[in-house]
Every structure is written in C-alpha cells, then in structure tokens.
C-alpha cells in the first residue's frame, strides 16, 4: 500500500518552483497557466495508491520513493549504436530524436515531408505557432484525475508536434524516437542519480488526412530512470491514423505513459502498443470516439520476464452512434513477471449501434508469472453489440507433443509455440521495418528464454 507522504510531494512542488525560475516562464503565458494548474492538481492528488481501483495491481511506491532529477540532454557514447538499432532509416519520412525528452536537431532527420506537414519540436511550435497548439494541448489528456499526467503537464518542456493538414496523405511513417541516457550507476548505490524526463507529444491529423506515427522509447544502458510521457492525438473527420508505440526501456527503468486519442466523425484510428522493456510499466491508452462511423482498433503485445511489471489500462469511450472498436491485447509472461490488463469499454447513452469487441489473451510461460486481467463493459445505450473476454493459459501440451514427435526438441517446440502466439500481433504491424525489429527482438528474447530454462 502506498501512502504518499507530504515530503515526497514537497520535493516535486519545490522542484516546480525551480523549474519555473529557470526559464519555464519564458514560454507563453497560457502554457504557464496550464502548468500551474497541473502542479496544483498534482499536490491535491498525490501519487496513486493501490487502494484506488485503477491502481489496484500496480504499486508505484518505488517511483514515489525515488528522488528523481529532471534529466539533461546527455548524448553519451552508447547513443550511436542505440540509434543505429532503433532507426527506421529511409523507411521513415521524418525521424525526430529526443534525448531525455530534449529535441535533438543534430540527430533528427526530416527527409521529405509532404506539403504543409509539420513535424518538429513542440516547444518550438508553441512559441512560433500557438494557433496550432493551443486548441489541443492539455485539452484531451486530463490532468484532473491522473497524477502522472498532472506531473507531465506541470513539467512539460518539449516533445514532438506533428500536424498533417486537411486532405494530405503522408505515406511513409513519421518516427518519434525517445532515448533515455541516464548517467551510469544504479540509483540506490548513488542516491540522487536517478533522472526523470517528461516527453509531451501532440499529433494532429486534420480532416481527411492520413498518417502513420511510430513512437519508440529506448533505454541506453542499464540505469534507473523514469519516463513519464503523454501523447495527445487528434483525428479530424475522415482522418486515418495508424499509431505505434514501442516501449524498450532499459531493465531498471520506470515507464508511465498516457496516450489520449480524440476522434471525429468517420475517422479511423488504429493503435499498436508493444511493451518489451522496463521494470515497472504502466500504459493508459484512451480513445474517445466523438463522432459517428468511427473505426477504432487497439492492438497490444507485452512480453515480459524476470521481475518486470507491465500494466495496460485502456478505455474506449463510445460517445456517438455507429462506431466500431476492436481490441486485442496479447501477453507473454515468463520468470516472475507480472502483467495487468484492464480494458474498459464505455458506451454512452447516445451511442446506439455501437459494435465493440475486446479480447485479452495471456500465455504464462512459468509458474512464477502472474496476470491480472479485467475486461470491463459499461453500457448505457440499449441497441449495441458488445463482447469481451480474456484467456489465461499455458502452452498447449498437445501442440508441444506434436512438434516433438516431428523431431523438434522441447525448447525449440516451446519457443516455436510462444512465437506463434505472439506472431499474430507482429503480423498486424504494417510498417515493415518496425515489424522486422519486433520480430528480431522476439526471436532473441525467446532464445535467451530457452537458455534460462535449461538452468533450473
């Protein structure tokens, strides 16, 4: 049970004063107002405890107890290699690189953005182009009831801003790449070395436009740090947005992310959320279907081992009639890892003819792994089609025997079946280099897994 002491909150409040003094006030005054409102809300909320239903299975005490320093932009020696592995290269039309939340112009590349498309630093844009930012920023991701969103909003300094104008189609993906390069050394050995970054992203796809956005979080080295990130996505009428979030933080890292999509009439939003890294991970993905005829697809894959903890909370708000949503999250849990899935579908009174389907499937690969899964439907309309379900299972022993009877050894058979379970989600990734990356990571992880298994 977490009880946030006032001392822990005071650290953040005094850090906020410091943050404001050191230049945060240079930004436009409306940003300043939002930040102040957010920190004040955070001081009321405090860190969530496991007594709250939404945080029942995820204890953030390790985060509350750690003293984080706001991260500087530190480009260390490991960056080049990390960049080479994470880049989408020529396959992306733009790659924005952020180091500890700070935009790096040198590492970024904007190859060939179509006419009118903007992709760059959010901080630069709220200074130079407030008309594009002000109507959206902090209007969708609410800091009123989520402490981490409140903190992110209070300390937001930079992140990505992407704007796709009316009718424009961006065929190649836009890659937002977030590196964490915390100073080497474990925080508990050197107190005060843990750092935090607060990436803040805004993606606006205007009416009839189309875009693919890939958001990657990559840890460089093995350090304790916290990434507390918020992405707001706004889809106009008929807009098509294909969104990917790939989380590969380092194994000691905390990763808290909120993605809030607000969608207008006849738009099409698909999200692919992939979690492989991090020690303690919490994702909140919320989509508000605020128009008729919207199609929303939420895909997720989490693959954890050791003592990793990954929590996926999703919420789909069917606000208007005739929308359909499809959600499929799959989890692979090995070692003593722990997974949480909480998917809520909320059908508002006006949302007649809603067609919603939600599924969560889990494969437990060891006796020590745990999953808490909770699909939830809340329906206030009377003419809807909603289904939900979740499964938890082990590898099918029939299938293992079948493969062994063809000459495959036990470890190979298990790996093949595990891979097969995950491959459905990998197959749904439309961006080829992303798919290849994930596939490689999966295969590598499986090979390591089988070795670990041989040593009891």
């Amino acid at each position: 049970m977490v009880v946030t002491s006032s001392k822990e909150l005071d650290t953040y409040l005094s850090d906020f004063e410091l943050f404001e003094k050191n230049g945060a006030t240079k930004g436009p005054s409306w940003i300043h107002q939002i930040r102040k409102a957010a920190i004040s809300r955070f001081s009321e909320l405090g860190f969530p405890t496991t007594r709250l239903e939404e945080w029942k299975y995820t204890n953030v005490a390790p985060i509350a107890k750690t003293r984080f320093k706001r991260a500087e932009c530190e480009v260390n020696g490991l960056m080049a290699e990390a960049l080479a592995r994470a880049t989408l290269g020529e396959s992306a039309c733009a790659q924005l690189v952020f180091v500890n939340g700070h935009f790096s112009r040198e590492l970024s590349s904007l190859r060939s953005l179509p006419e009118g498309v903007k992709a760059g630093s959010l901080a630069a844009a709220w200074g130079s182009d407030p008309a594009s930012i002000e109507p959206h920023l902090a209007r969708h991701a609410s800091y009123h009831d989520h402490a981490f969103v409140a903190l992110n909003t209070a300390f937001m300094k930079d992140g990505a801003f992407v704007y796709v104008p009316k009718g424009q189609v961006v065929e190649l993906p836009i890659h937002l790449l977030f590196f964490s390069t915390a100073p080497v050394g474990l925080a508990h050995e050197r107190p005060g070395t843990a750092v935090v970054s607060y990436p803040r992203n805004l993606i606006v796809a205007d009416d009839g436009s189309q875009a693919m956005i890939v958001e990657s979080y990559v840890g460089v080295g093995t350090n304790v740090y916290l990434t507390n990130t918020v992405t707001e996505i706004v889809g106009g009428k008929n807009a098509v947005i294909d969104y990917y979030k790939l989380q590969r933080e380092s194994e000691e890292a905390f990763h808290i992310a909120t993605v809030q999509a607000h969608l207008d009439r006849s738009s099409n939003f698909s999200s692919h959320s992939i979690d492989l890294g991090g020690a303690l991970v919490r994702n909140d993905l919320n989509a508000t279907l605020d128009g008729e005829g919207i199609e929303c697809t939420l895909d997720g894959l989490y693959m954890v081992t050791g003592r990793q903890h990954v929590d996926n909370h999703t919420r789909i708000d069917h606000v208007k009639p005739h929308c359909s949503s499809r959600e499929l999250y799959k989890g692979l849990l090995d070692g003593k890892s722990r997974g949480v899935f909480n998917g809520k579908i909320y059908v508002h009174k006006a949302a007649q003819k809603t067609d919603a389907k939600q599924t969560n499937k889990n494969l437990l690969l060891s006796e020590g792994a745990t999953i808490n899964t909770k699909p939830q439907l809340e329906i206030y309309a009377d003419d809807v089609k909603c289904t939900h379900g979740s499964t938890i299972g082990q590898l099918d022993q029939n299938a293992v025997f079948y493969l062994r009877s063809r000459g495959l050894d036990l470890a190979t058979a298990r790996n093949l079946l595990t891979y097969a379970f995950a491959s459905e989600m990998v197959g749904r990734i439309k961006v080829e280099p992303v798919r290849a990356q994930i596939e490689n990571l999966l295969v590598t992880r499986l090979q390591h897994g089988s070795r670990a298994e041989d040593t009891p």
Binding site: F401, R406, S423, E424
Partner: protein, 256 residues
C-alpha cells in the same frame, strides 16, 4: 524392427493397455483394429512417447534399442513417425517452417548435412505429389482452417518428408470421404518399402481395401485378442466386434 512385450500403460488410474505383445519386421504392414476404447490410440501414443501415458510394465525394443527410454523427439529422429488422428492446429507457424526444423533435427541426428532452403523446397515439392498437396496449403499456418481431409493429407505428406522407418497411422481414415481416402491410401502405398514398417490403426475395414496389410490384429480391452491375415479384417467387417467380445469373454479365464 519393433518388438513389444507385455506392454502395460495407464492414464491417471485407468489401465488402458493390459499386456500387448507384437512383433513387426521391416517391410511389413500391420493393421491394428478394435472397437472404441480398446486401447488402439493409446498404443500409438505410447510408442510415440506421449508423456501423459504412464507405462507400468513391459518393454518396447525398436531397432535393438529401448524405445521407452527415449524422449519423443529422439524417437522421431530414430525414425518413428506418428500420423495423428487429430492433428494439432498451430496458428502463426507454416507447415514448411516447422517441417524444415524437423527434417534438419532428424538429419543432424543421423549424421547427414542439414538441408538448405533450396534443397529442402525441392524435396518438399517431390513429396507434395505423394498426396496431391497444394503449395498454398503448406505455406499456410500449420493445419489452421484445414478441412479434415487436408489435415490427414498433411500428416501423410509430413511422413513422406520426414522419411521414417516405422510409421504409425492412427485412424488416418476416420472422417475421410472416399476420394480423400484414396489419395491418402495412395500416398501410404507409395511409401511402402522393404526397409520400412507400418502400423495402421483403424476402426473400419474400409481403409484396408486400399492399404493391404500383411497382418491384422484385434485389440480388445487392452490386449491383442486375435491375429491373422487380411481376411480377419473382412470377417470383422461382416460380423462386427460383438462376436469377438463373446469369444474373448468365454476364453477370458484361460487367458488370465
């Protein structure tokens, strides 16, 4: 090639095999028949190494080696193949991908060089003809969405590719229409050779019109109660299993 002596096996607390004796030589085809629940499929699975069956007594000598000591994959590598009655569907893995892993594990075990993609595909193409397999089918996820007939053809196709010495066909005929049955039987017949042996497990005599066995055995209540030539199958077809039951019950005291 295969010598089964006094084999007993149970699942949980139920004894299913209660003393099987059977000798199979290279080049022979043995049909094993029997009513439902007699232990036919259990015998097949015990020979292939399924761990959910516990062998409580007896031994199985295969090519001079103790078969029961080997894990399932080693049996496969030594040349034992089981065509499943209910082949497993594995979404996400294509037949070719998994078969290549199997073929190379077996080849490695036999001291042969592993096949590269080109040689493997050439071999696969050859074997596909055996059971009129479609290329599209083997590129699809293993057995996923296959019809019953396609699954059984896939089993025989795999037998062709894996090149076993002892093939055990567990009710490969069940659920097949006559056309599919002929295709499967043709595949099996093409595979017969003086170096190989087959154990054809079936409930119905029909399959044996197409795969002519050298010997027919009848399992009842976990034991082989009658053995004979192919005429025995016809007799069973005609009279059903009931006459045999009566005969066994009368003879029971002397067998026991």
């Amino acid at each position: 090639m295969l010598e089964i002596r006094n084999l007993h096996a149970k699942v949980g607390n139920t004894e299913i095999l209660r003393g099987i004796d059977l000798t199979v030589h290279a080049g022979e085809v043995h049909a094993v028949m029997g009513p439902n629940g007699s232990g036919k499929s259990t015998l097949a699975h015990v020979l292939a190494g399924r761990e959910s069956y516990e062998v409580t007594a007896g031994e199985v000598i295969y090519e001079g080696k103790d078969l029961l000591k080997m894990p399932p994959e080693e049996r496969a590598r030594e040349g034992v193949f089981l065509a499943f009655q209910y082949p497993v569907e594995i979404p996400g893995v294509s037949t070719t991908y998994f078969l290549k892993a199997g073929v190379n594990a077996i080849r490695k075990h036999r001291g042969l060089e592993e096949l590269d993609a080109i040689d493997f595909l050439a071999m696969v193409k050859e074997k596909m003809k055996l059971v009129e397999m479609d290329q599209a089918l083997i590129n699809r996820p293993l057995n996923e969405g296959f019809s019953g007939g396609e699954k059984k053809r896939n089993e025989i196709f795999q037998m062709g590719v894996l090149d076993p010495k002892l093939a055990i066909l567990d009710e490969t005929d069940s659920g097949l229409d006559i056309d599919a049955l002929k295709i499967v039987a043709n595949g099996v017949n093409a595979f017969r050779s003086p170096a190989r042996a087959m154990l054809v497990i079936t409930h119905y005599q029909r399959l044996l019109n197409y795969i002519i066995p050298d010997y027919v055995h009848v399992i009842f209540d976990g034991r082989i109660v009658k053995s004979g030539g192919k005429a025995l199958a016809l007799e069973l077809e005609e009279k059903g299993y009931d006459w045999l039951k009566a005969e066994v019950e009368v003879a029971q005291p002397t067998i026991a």
